[in-house]
């Protein structure tokens, strides 16, 4: 019989600061059968429940930016304190080829860390392009470097790395890193730009979308991607981020 319990209880092993408002919660044990790009619903009783991408599965690690009351409560958790998780949920990334370019905008870097780890375990080459408004918002750059990835940075104010959007860093990296697949997670405008870039350059792309999630299991309809966005990236109408995604796939014809 499947799990009788809706949630699994985990305990925080370590809570590590990653930037001025983001922490990685390393939990006390693995999450079975998790794929990079999938997500979990994290629950704190009487406080709330929200979706988080999986930054690591063994042990389960969630990288949480303090952007609201619930994520603040998660960021305040200390070693030894419990949180509850249901998942893994959704459609994750699928590693294709041997040379991968990973593109993260802001806290979109989190699921890419898990993906990079998987790719390097296979002996593949990984280049990570991280973009953010400024240096303070950048996430996990050192972690990716320690892992053994090539890392390129872009900030809108030029406080570190290339000045401008992450797409420019991607364009530059691809000149001497001929990736077979691009994997991206970040804000919608970034994903739309990268989807267009992949199409123009006939590059296979995988894009992880963010949406408000309620049930997380494909029933309530809250996380539907609007029809305009679906049309722009070639998804069928009524695409559900929690079940059809969060990752969408583009394969050049």
């Amino acid at each position: 019989m499947k799990d009788m319990q809706a949630y699994q209880r985990y305990f925080v092993s370590k809570s590590q600061p990653k930037n001025y408002r983001t922490r990685s919660l390393v939990l006390d044990r693995p999450l079975a059968d998790a794929q990079p790009g999938q997500f979990v619903m994290a629950w704190l009783p009487d406080i709330g429940e929200k979706p988080f991408s999986i930054a690591g599965a063994d042990p389960l690690t969630l990288t949480v930016a303090d952007v609201g009351p619930f994520s603040r409560a998660l960021c305040c958790l200390e070693a030894g304190q419990p949180l509850w998780v249901r998942g893994p949920l959704g459609q994750g990334f699928e590693l294709k080829g041997k040379r991968h370019i990973l593109v993260g905008g802001g806290y979109g870097a989190a699921p890419l860390f898990f993906l990079a780890k998987r790719a390097l375990t296979r002996g593949d080459e990984v280049c990570v392009c991280l973009g953010a408004r400024n240096q303070a918002e950048l996430l996990l750059a050192d972690d990716f470097r320690e892992l053994g990835c090539r890392v390129e940075l872009a900030t809108e104010d030029g406080s570190t790395g290339q000045r401008g959007l992450v797409l420019e860093a991607v364009r530059a990296a691809l000149t001497d890193f001929p990736a077979q697949t691009l994997y991206a997670c970040g804000p919608k405008p970034m994903l739309l730009a990268l989807a267009a870039f992949c199409k123009d350059n006939q590059l296979a792309g995988q894009f992880s979308w963010e949406a408000m999630m309620r049930c997380g299991i494909g029933l309530c309809g809250s996380c539907e991607i609007d029809e305009t966005t679906c049309d722009a990236v070639g998804l069928g109408h009524g695409w559900l981020t929690c079940k059809d995604g969060p990752v969408s796939f583009y394969q050049p014809g």
Partner: protein
């Protein structure tokens, strides 16, 4: 019998459907695009999510969780309110009719009078059927005991809706009553064209390690395979008592479940939580399983097995 010889078409209160599978209200019924997708995935008919007079955000998370027996939810009747619902339903109907699929609107309201007003408003969207949700378990004390809880209140709502529309109406009932057939009969006598049974079964999940209810609303509605025996019993009792058609639902996730529901007397079969287990394509999958079962057992059409288990 060859599969291609099996006739799955049915007629529900004058509404023709290519197969008996109907998307249950509350699942994926939040936009024209999603309802259109469900139609493309093989549903015979689709129900929009229940709409009330005013917009409601619903309950905070957690609102729905899966467990071994299915799903427990308390979404809290999230809806855009009547005014925004009408154009959305019109757009949905256009897209569905282009596929030859009927649209079922679903309404709820806090008072009998407001059920009448909701009906009057929804008429403008010209759905093929109006489902009257008098049995949502998820709105706590705000709306008091569901109207489906007594013969008198069920009849009063049905009369108020009937008086305001010429569109066929289906009254959606709760299993959580001592005698569901009496309530169904009262709805029929008050002018209902069909009965939808059952709504979710009131229930609760507690996380023992947290010592807290899982849903933010504490209690919710149980759906999925664990409620199928309850649903079959309710549908059977209703079908023995009323003459109007019944949309049977509760725990249907396979073709065999749909066959059982029809053998209990249902004219159409609702599918909801199975979308979680088997994806949106579940409608085409169940249809195919039902067709295979009927071909294998020699049932040429739905009528040949309808109600056979209650005779």
């Amino acid at each position: 019998m060859n599969k291609s010889e099996v006739d799955l078409t049915c007629e529900l209160a004058g509404v023709r459907m290519r197969n008996p599978l109907v998307l249950a209200s509350g699942v994926l019924g939040t936009s024209a695009a999603l309802l259109e997708r469900v139609g493309q995935c093989g549903a015979g008919g689709v129900s929009a999510k229940s709409c009330g007079p005013e917009a409601r955000a619903g309950h905070p998370n957690p609102i729905a969780v899966a467990w071994a027996g299915g799903v427990v939810n308390a979404v809290g009747l999230t809806n855009p309110g009547l005014e925004a619902e009408i154009p959305a339903l019109i757009e949905t109907r256009k897209r569905l009719h282009a596929q030859g699929i009927p649209l079922i609107a679903s309404i709820f309201a806090p008072t009998v009078e407001e059920f009448g007003r909701m009906t009057e408003g929804i008429n403008a969207a010209e759905p093929d059927l109006i489902e009257v949700n008098i049995s949502c378990p998820n709105v706590g004390d705000e709306f008091g005991t569901p109207f489906s809880g007594s013969v008198e209140s069920a009849a009063a709502v049905t009369q108020a809706v009937r008086a305001n529309t010429a569109i066929p109406i289906a009254i959606k009932l709760s299993p959580n009553v001592p005698n569901i057939a009496r309530i169904a009969l009262a709805a029929q006598d008050a002018g209902a064209n069909a009965i939808t049974a059952i709504n979710t079964v009131p229930g609760m999940l507690i996380d023992p390690y947290a010592g807290r209810p899982v849903l933010s609303n504490q209690v919710g509605g149980v759906s999925g395979w664990s409620i199928k025996p309850i649903a079959l019993r309710c549908v059977a009792e209703i079908c023995k008592t009323v003459t109007i058609p019944v949309i049977g639902l509760g725990g249907v996730s396979r073709g065999l479940d749909a066959a059982e529901m029809i053998m209990a007397g249902a004219t159409a079969v609702g599918v909801g939580s199975a979308v979680w287990q088997r994806g949106v394509d579940v409608f085409a999958v169940i249809t195919e399983e039902l067709r295979e079962f009927m071909a294998g057992e020699g049932y040429p059409d739905l009528e040949s097995m309808r109600g056979m288990a209650i005779r």
